[in-house]
Each structure stands twice: as structure tokens, then as C-alpha cells.
């Protein structure tokens, strides 16, 4: 991957004079996850990193930078968010330069920390030949990258960033992965309605209402004006009751219905690790079944809830 990283740096260096900022990744505070990097000067380019630790979807920053000429480094799944933002005209294509990458999966630091049993005691970590080698106070260990990938990588349908202005490296197919982890949706399906309701009450009891899920969501474009914190309209109250927090999650799911690309940022951002993408996944399944539509694939299309057909082929209305 070394040369791919060098190619990326070169591409950024070349494009930088015409751009206000380029968003990429740099090494994070611990060795398990990289952190976003906002490049405004040539010297920043040296900090750029590209390896499976570049888990974050950087597309969420784009609407906030509207009006500037922005370059962005994107994995295949990140680009779907970009497509969606373009589709909703929340960003301008001509102001945007996408440095596209081929991705073979991004790591889930929580999962790795659990597997390596290294907690927050990592001294160093480096990627070498398909493995992440970790040295922590508990000793040294190596985790196979394939085992440490984010859940979404097991569902990957496009590893190459599209749209893309400059593709770095070779195009390729999504990683071939076995043993996809069971999703919460699958687990819920095995439960009774009553159990599911209780499941959410317990999960929401842990929510601290920090709204990291929303802030990290590239499609939560209301951000500063989110209805969750407003009184006009007053959809949710400010108390800590699980009901209100569940209401917010339903709101997030319905607001992103037909727009969510399942980039997983909401779950990745959640500091208490709640399975909050579940509802969005359920809606996506339904939208695929009803409208044969997946978000983030075509910037020319209209999200399914903002259009209609007089005769809906797949909607079976109840006859009374």
C-alpha cells in the first residue's frame, strides 16, 4: 500500500494549489484508528495516512464547507454519501475534487481492542502483511485484518470510490469475506415484539443524548437546527426517558429513509456503542423491496420519499 499512499500524497500535492482544503486522514492518538486531517498547506500532506485504519467517512464535512473548493479522499462507501449529498444538491460537484480509493475494508477499533484485549493500553500498532501488530501493556499480538473489519465491510458492494476525479491505485472488487457477523436486525427478528420493545428500552437507557450519531451522520444536514433540540416543533422532550431517546432514533431513521447509505457512522460514533443503525437498515430493506432503490448510487435520481408513482407496483394495499 506504500505506493498507493505516495500516489495519493502526490495527487493531493498537485491539486492543493487550486483547492481551499483537502480532507484526508492522519495518524490518530492511538494506533487503532486514524483521524481526519484538514490539509491547507503543503507540509500537511506529509501527515496523510491511508490504510485500513481510515475508518471514518469524511463526506459528512462537505455540506459545512459549501462555498469552498474542497478536495476529499474517499473510500467506496464514503463516495456513496458524496453521491447522496450531490443528489440532494447539498454540495456542488464543480467545487469538489474527489480522490478516490480502492478499499479492502476498514478496521473497527472497538472490535480490535476487544480481540487483542488491549483496552486503552496500546503502546504501538502497525499494519504489516495483512495483520495489525499491536504492542500493549498486556503484551504483543497480531490481529488478522480480515477479522477486525467493520460490520459494514461484510456488506460492501463497491470498493472503488465513485464519483471520483482522481483514482489512486488499481480498481478492484470488494473484499471477499466470510462469516459476516450477525446484525442486530437479525437478532431482533428472532425476538417477540415485546422482547424487541424491551431491548430498545434497555439500549436507550444507556444513551447519553450526546447526538454523536446525528453529528457524525453525513446526511443529517439540519445539524444546528435539529428538531431533537427544538421546542418549535417540540417532537421530543429533553428528559432522559428511553421513550424520548427512542423517538429520536425513529426520527433519525425516518429522516434518512431512502437517503441513508448505511455508512455506519452513527454506530461508529456512538460513545456507548448502541446498535442505532438497525432501524435505518430495516427501512433500507423495505425501500429496496418497495421501490427497488438504494441510496448513494446515482446522483441524478430523486430519493423515493420525495416522489411517487400513481400505481405502486410493490405496494399491496389492504382491502377492507
Amino acid at each position: 500500500m506504500g505506493s498507493q499512499l505516495e500516489d495519493l500524497k502526490t495527487a493531493i500535492r498537485q491539486a492543493l494549489p487550486d483547492l481551499d482544503v483537502v480532507i484526508a486522514w492522519a495518524a490518530g492518538p492511538d494506533g487503532l484508528a486514524h483521524t481526519p486531517l484538514f490539509i491547507t498547506s503543503e507540509s500537511d500532506v506529509d501527515l496523510v495516512q491511508w490504510d485500513p485504519r481510515c475508518s471514518q467517512n469524511l463526506a459528512g464535512y462537505l455540506p459545512g464547507l459549501r462555498g469552498k473548493k474542497v478536495g476529499i479522499v474517499a473510500k467506496g462507501c464514503d463516495a456513496r454519501s458524496i453521491t447522496e449529498l450531490l443528489q440532494e444538491k447539498l454540495i456542488d460537484r464543480e467545487q469538489l475534487t474527489v480522490f478516490g480509493l480502492h478499499c479492502q475494508g476498514a478496521l473497527d477499533p472497538e472490535k480490535i481492542a476487544a480481540m487483542a484485549d488491549c483496552g486503552r493500553y496500546v503502546r504501538s500498532a502497525e499494519i504489516n502483511g495483512g495483520e495489525l501488530k499491536i504492542v500493549s501493556s498486556k503484551g504483543a499480538c497480531a490481529i488478522s485484518l480480515e477479522n477486525g473489519l467493520l460490520a459494514k465491510c461484510f456488506r460492501c458492494t463497491g470498493a472503488d470510490a465513485q464519483p471520483c476525479d482522481q483514482f489512486i491505485g488499481e480498481h478492484g472488487a470488494p473484499p471477499v469475506l466470510k462469516d459476516a457477523p450477525a446484525t442486530t436486525l437479525d437478532r431482533l427478528e428472532a425476538m417477540s415484539m415485546e422482547e424487541r420493545f424491551q431491548f430498545w428500552e434497555e439500549q436507550m437507557g444507556q444513551c447519553i443524548r450526546c447526538y454523536a450519531c446525528r453529528s457524525a451522520c453525513p446526511l443529517c444536514v439540519c445539524q444546528d437546527h435539529c428538531a431533537a433540540q427544538s421546542r418549535e416543533p417540540h417532537w421530543v422532550d429533553q428528559t432522559d426517558h428511553p421513550r424520548e431517546k427512542l423517538m429520536f432514533q425513529a426520527m433519525h431513521a425516518l429522516h434518512t429513509a431512502g437517503r441513508c447509505t448505511e455508512c455506519g457512522e452513527c454506530e461508529r460514533a456512538c460513545p456507548v456503542g448502541l446498535p442505532i443503525m438497525t432501524m435505518k437498515q430495516a427501512l433500507n430493506r423495505q425501500i429496496k423491496a418497495l421501490f427497488d432503490y438504494e441510496a448513494g448510487l446515482d446522483s441524478e435520481k430523486t430519493p423515493p420519499l420525495f416522489q411517487f408513482r400513481e400505481n405502486e407496483e410493490h405496494i399491496k394495499e389492504r382491502k377492507w
Binding site: 430498545w200 428511553p242 421513550r243 423517538m247 425513529a250 423495505q286 423515493p304 411517487f308 389492504r318
Partner: protein
């Protein structure tokens, strides 16, 4: 005041002003006897129904929610019900994930002249909800209770 304990369940109807509200009126004019559980909230159009109203009603303890509007193509505002149909059909898949029995929610189309049909809808839906019984409650109790009991 709340629904009559033991006799009734909480059923909320969101009806469009032009067709279904009129249909319910027609049923009334025809003296078509119906169960008394349903409480109708009048809206201008089913296009006004944000699916979150339905979610809010369930989370607040509604046992059933019924949405009714103009038949497709008869929308007073030409297209409101077409949008509503998509939104509500998507909502339908959210409810079971949340642990809300999907049969607690239905949407349908009833015109202003279909008093008889309205009665049928109300009867069948009310039966359906009684078949399901009350919606599960939060173990943590009501919001006000939770606030007043902030022990920690």
C-alpha cells in the same frame, strides 16, 4: 380523562379533511353504529401526516393508529396521498423493529361518500386492536414519573 378503562383501547385516527373525515361524517349521518374507541384527529391531507406522528402516538401509549385519506387520484391537493402512501408504507417496516406489532397500524382510503366502508374499516380495525390488546408499556414508567423519581 382517558379511554374508558377496560372497555376501550386507545385508537387514534388521522383523517384527511376532504375525503375520509367526510366519509366518517357520512357514516354518522347514516347512523352506522361503530365501536367508540377511535378518536379522530383531522388533518388537511394525508400528505400532512409525518410518519413520526404515528411513532409518537405509539410511544405515548396508543394501542392502534389508523390513517385514512382520499383514494389515489382523488386527493384534494392532487398528490398528497401518493406521498403519504410511500411514507406510511416505509413506516410499516419500522414499527416491528421497534417492537410495535405492525398490525397496530393501518392506512386506507375512504371517500366522503363511503360511509358504509368507513364503518367497516372502523369495526375491523377496532377488532384487530382488541385482538392485540394494550401496547407494551415502558418499564421505566411514564416520563413524568421518571422525572419525579430522579433518584440518582
Amino acid at each position: 380523562m382517558s379511554v374508558l378503562e377496560g372497555k376501550e383501547l386507545r385508537i387514534i385516527g388521522f383523517l384527511c379533511n376532504w375525503c375520509s373525515y367526510g366519509g366518517a361524517d357520512t357514516a354518522g349521518v347514516g347512523r352506522f353504529t361503530q365501536p367508540t374507541d377511535l378518536r379522530i384527529i383531522k388533518l388537511p391531507c394525508t400528505g400532512r401526516i409525518n410518519p413520526l406522528f404515528v411513532v409518537r402516538a405509539f410511544l405515548n401509549g396508543a394501542d392502534g393508529v389508523l390513517v385514512s385519506g382520499c383514494h389515489p387520484r382523488d386527493c384534494h391537493y392532487t398528490a398528497g396521498n401518493f406521498y403519504a402512501r410511500r411514507r406510511l408504507e416505509v413506516l410499516r417496516s419500522l414499527l416491528p423493529v421497534m417492537g410495535i406489532e405492525p398490525a397496530r397500524f393501518e392506512y386506507t382510503w375512504v371517500s366522503a361518500s363511503e360511509g358504509q366502508r368507513w364503518r367497516t374499516v372502523v369495526q375491523k380495525f377496532t377488532e384487530q386492536i382488541h385482538g392485540l390488546g394494550p401496547i407494551p408499556a415502558f418499564k421505566s414508567g411514564t416520563c413524568l414519573e421518571a422525572c419525579l423519581g430522579t433518584a440518582i
